[in-house]
């Protein structure tokens, strides 16, 4: 995959050292680690890794790289899943994890400004005493810069939205090293084109995000969570569909199929029924939570659900959601030594049951191990293929099932990726999904990064 990585001359490295001094590494181990994410994609190591400490440093580094036309790959925590951080053409990785300060909590306006290396758990621990929280929770403890760059979401998106709805403004170092702030302190920005959302989800291909202002929420007065088994996938998904169509503001509504429930019990020490299951969480006032729980309870009962098992204590809930967040690792533990490939289609909610059932059938017919979990309230679900990448026949079957599922989802008006992003792994599907829009995206990329130095080889091929 890494055909001709650029070589970095000694004098170029010296120039970078002039900015970051000792915070630069060219060691093979550090470079290999920074060229790899949490997926099965192989490492594509950069030629050097720098650990930046400020916006100005990032700007200086990018200016040097721009002058020499050397690729720049921003790096948060490397938990992405589509080869996002791979240095396809070599170059310089800018590791932002040491820019991890929480700069300013503005409780009255419900926002916070952070450096990009701040991780989501760190932020919520910091916020705890303020009565506020930040809801977006991808399974991994990712950096907020990486989450912004991948437009991440998580289990709360059905109520709180994704990074798209929750990033208010940011500071970005552009491909020529210039620094911009995408919008002012006034949150309902209306000045000019919506640059904030253009950079949210740009996967490091338009610039390096060095500061982010995020929207915060008050911790709800009441929270309760429940686990509820269903006789089959269809009745679980029908429960989801009706809940969403009724406009019940559930905070979380997650599906785990019977295979994943087995993995969850084994990995996280639960003993839930090993059936297709929905996990719920309700947020609001005491009265609101009770009301939502009753309404959803009725819908579930109509669909033949089993008992709700409630988790009202904070510790029980956090154990439950940690279990949900560890799904990927729990699934891999079902077959020690195997690798995981998490798919990410999203379909209109009315087509969800059909889409999941067909892929389940396909997985079984191809005799693959592939538990299913889903942020089903958004129509988004992950089939996690547990596979041996060295087994060519198995990989061929995996790819077949995956391709059929993606094309089916696109045909249903859905998308190949609801939250993980494109990286290297989904470039080919983007063509099927977007067609002519790719030429607009290409024009956009060329307009903002004419020398194609920002994370080249991702999202679109120029």
């Amino acid at each position: 995959m890494q055909a001709n990585p650029v070589s970095l001359s000694d004098s170029f490295i010296e120039e970078l050292r002039g900015v970051v001094e000792q915070r630069l590494s060219t060691s093979a181990a550090v470079c290999l680690q920074h060229g790899k994410d949490e997926s099965w994609h192989e490492s594509l190591p950069p030629g050097a890794v720098v650990f930046a400490h400020s916006t100005e440093e990032v700007s200086e580094i990018v200016k040097i790289c721009a002058r020499h036309k050397i690729p720049v790959i921003p790096y948060g925590t490397g938990t992405s899943l589509e080869g996002h951080v791979g240095a396809v053409y070599g170059g310089v990785c800018i590791d932002l994890s040491e820019m991890n300060e929480i700069l300013n909590v503005n409780a009255a306006d419900l926002d916070v400004t952070v450096q990009p290396g701040v991780r989501r758990k760190q932020l919520n621990e910091y916020l705890r005493d303020t009565g506020l929280f930040f809801p977006i929770d991808p399974g991994a403890d990712a950096s907020l810069g990486g989450m912004t760059a991948t437009r991440a979401s998580g289990t709360n998106a059905v109520r709180y939205g994704t990074m798209r709805e929750n990033v208010l403004s940011m500071t970005v170092v552009m491909a020529d090293g210039r620094i911009i702030k995408t919008s002012s302190r006034a949150r309902k920005s209306a000045a000019g084109y919506d640059l904030t959302r253009l950079f949210v989800g740009s996967e490091g291909t338009l610039g390096v995000i060095t500061e982010i202002t995020l929207r915060l929420y008050g911790i709800p007065e009441a929270i309760s969570a429940a686990v509820c088994p269903f006789p089959d996938l269809e009745s679980a998904v029908d429960t989801v569909i009706t809940t969403i169509q009724c406009g019940i503001p559930v905070a979380r509504i997650e599906l785990m199929d019977e295979v994943q429930m087995k993995a969850l019990n084994a990995y996280s020490g639960f003993d839930y029924p090993e059936q297709n299951t929905l996990l719920f969480e309700f947020h609001g006032t005491e009265a609101g939570v009770k009301e939502q729980a009753e309404l959803v309870g009725e819908i579930a009962a109509d669909n033949g659900a089993g008992e709700f098992q409630w988790a009202s204590k904070a510790e029980e809930r956090s154990k439950l959601w940690q279990g949900r967040h560890d799904s990927y690792y729990a699934a891999m533990a079902l077959r020690p030594g195997a690798k995981g490939m998490a798919t990410d289609v999203c379909v209109p909610i009315s087509r969800l049951a059909e889409c999941i059932l067909e892929v389940r059938k396909d997985v079984d017919a191809e005799k693959l191990l592939a538990p299913i979990v889903g942020h089903v309230g958004d129509g988004n679900f992950h089939v996690c293929f547990i596979m041996d990448p060295d087994d060519a026949d198995e990989m061929r079957r995996v790819e077949g099932v995956n391709r059929r599922m993606v094309l089916r989802a696109i045909a249903m008006g859905g998308t190949c990726t609801g939250e993980h992003g494109v990286g290297i792994g989904k470039i080919e599907f983007l063509v099927a999904e977007h067609g002519e829009a790719l030429s607009v995206m290409r024009a956009m990329k060329m307009a903002l990064d004419p020398d194609n130095i920002m994370n080249p080889g991702k999202i679109i091929n120029l």
């Binding site: 920005s189 000019g192 253009l198 988004n380 790719l438």
Partner: protein, 411 residues
């Protein structure tokens, strides 16, 4: 001579733009032209009238989205949704009368181009947060589509967001898919009647901040000074002769009652509390979202000012010191509607200064064509941002043919 093209199909839109590209003709894009007076005046060679593309293409209530052609009147969308007890959550406003025209003329394309949203914006977001996908013709004369029917997708650059609020300067939208949701069972509004006489703008903002910071899921927060409240068609608002702060709560019956009671307790320290039921609530929030109070007095300049809510009242009162004008607040104080005299360059410079000092920005929503051509209508961009803006424009529309100068001179 300017002629008007009125395509009836997507293919005809494409033909028109392709012709414009080939002949280097600039195009002014209009729906029903209801917001033509909003933004800088466009001087274009030809006009592209999108009102002929008016059709709801796909609406099945259970799917929770609606797809319509760009020229479809919003009134038609609202009616179709209301018949199924659904709605667009961002509460699209109707600025027809505000801009000196008739009500009910706005189209889907115009709504997206201007990224409008009503009072529920604080809870539900703006138009751009509800646009799931669209079809368009770029200024290169190429058809493209982006997004689809799903609420989440991360397939590359978010063109829906870029398109929303671009005032037709990037591409001609031909079709849009918007997210819809069930309308709430119950709507209630908690009113605070402030004591008579005196200025309560700061107090109003403080009360809104407290209410919005509470767990009561307030979906509308506005403050009307006494002389603005006096113009409301809702008796409970106009009758008291005092300034009024309004807080809206929506949802299923029991939890609405609970939240209204909680707000009542929380806010009674500020003034006398009253409650509006569904009909009156709907009337009031339409007045506020549509800025009906400032539809008269058309010769006054009208500003839409975005500031951090804590600064709103101070900025507004400062601008109005010694000038005839009026103000009211929506979005918990973060949105300031301000009408002021005289509508001239000096007063616009003062508005920009006051707003700029607190990191906010201001849009001149109404003013004579001469004024709008001679001053910045939108918040001016610094050199770096204008460079980025021009590069994006050129990516979509390298000939700068679409709505030239509508947002910024030369773009």
């Amino acid at each position: 001579m300017t002629s008007t093209f009125k395509p009836a199909t997507d293919a005809q839109v494409l033909d028109a733009v392709k012709w414009a590209v080939a002949d280097k003709q600039t195009l002014e894009i209009v729906g029903n032209a209801s917001k033509r007076g909003f933004g800088r005046p466009v001087e274009a060679d030809q006009r592209l009238d999108m009102s002929g593309l008016a059709e709801i293409v796909d609406y099945q209530p259970s799917e929770l989205y609606i797809t319509a052609k760009a020229g479809t009147p919003l009134a038609a969308i609202d009616a179709a949704l209301a018949a199924q007890n659904q709605q667009l959550m961002f509460e699209p406003p109707d600025y027809g009368p505000l801009l000196g025209g008739a009500a009910g003329q706005g189209t889907v394309g115009g709504l997206i181009a201007c990224n409008l949203a009503g009072s529920r914006r604080i809870k539900a977001g703006a138009a751009r947060d509800h646009l799931l996908g669209f079809h368009a013709v770029s200024g290169r004369g190429e058809v493209f589509k982006s997004g689809g029917q799903v609420v989440k997708n991360v397939t590359g650059f978010d063109l829906s967001k870029l398109m929303t609020g671009s005032y037709g300067t990037l591409a001609v939208i031909t079709e849009a898919t918007l997210k819809v949701l069930p309308a709430a069972d119950k709507v209630r509004t908690v009113l605070i009647h402030w004591p008579q006489n005196g200025v309560y703008d700061h107090g109003g903002v403080q009360a809104m901040t407290e209410a919005l910071g509470s767990v009561n899921e307030v979906s509308g927060a506005a403050h009307l000074p006494a002389h603005v409240a006096a113009r409301s068609a809702v008796d409970y608002v106009s009758g008291s002769g005092s300034a009024v702060t309004a807080l809206r709560v929506e949802g299923p019956g029991p939890s609405v009652a609970y939240r209204v009671a909680a707000l009542h307790d929380m806010l009674s320290k500020f003034g006398k509390i009253e409650e509006l039921h569904s009909q009156n609530s709907k009337r009031l929030w339409k007045e506020i979202s549509d800025v009906e109070y400032f539809a008269d007095n058309q010769e006054r300049a009208l500003w839409r000012i975005s500031v951090p809510p804590v600064e709103g009242a101070r900025v507004a009162l400062h601008i109005l010191e010694g000038r005839p004008g009026e103000v009211f607040y929506d979005w918990g104080g973060g949105l300031v509607w301000l009408s002021v005299e005289p509508a001239d360059k000096a007063s616009q410079a003062q508005v920009r200064r006051c707003v700029g000092d607190v990191g906010g920005h201001a849009t001149l929503v109404r003013g004579s064509a001469e004024l709008r051509a001679s001053v910045a209508v939108f918040e001016p961009l610094d050199a770096v941002l204008s460079g980025v803006t021009e590069r994006i424009k050129d990516g979509f529309d390298p000939g700068r043919l679409l709505n030239p100068g509508r947002m910024y001179e030369g773009v």
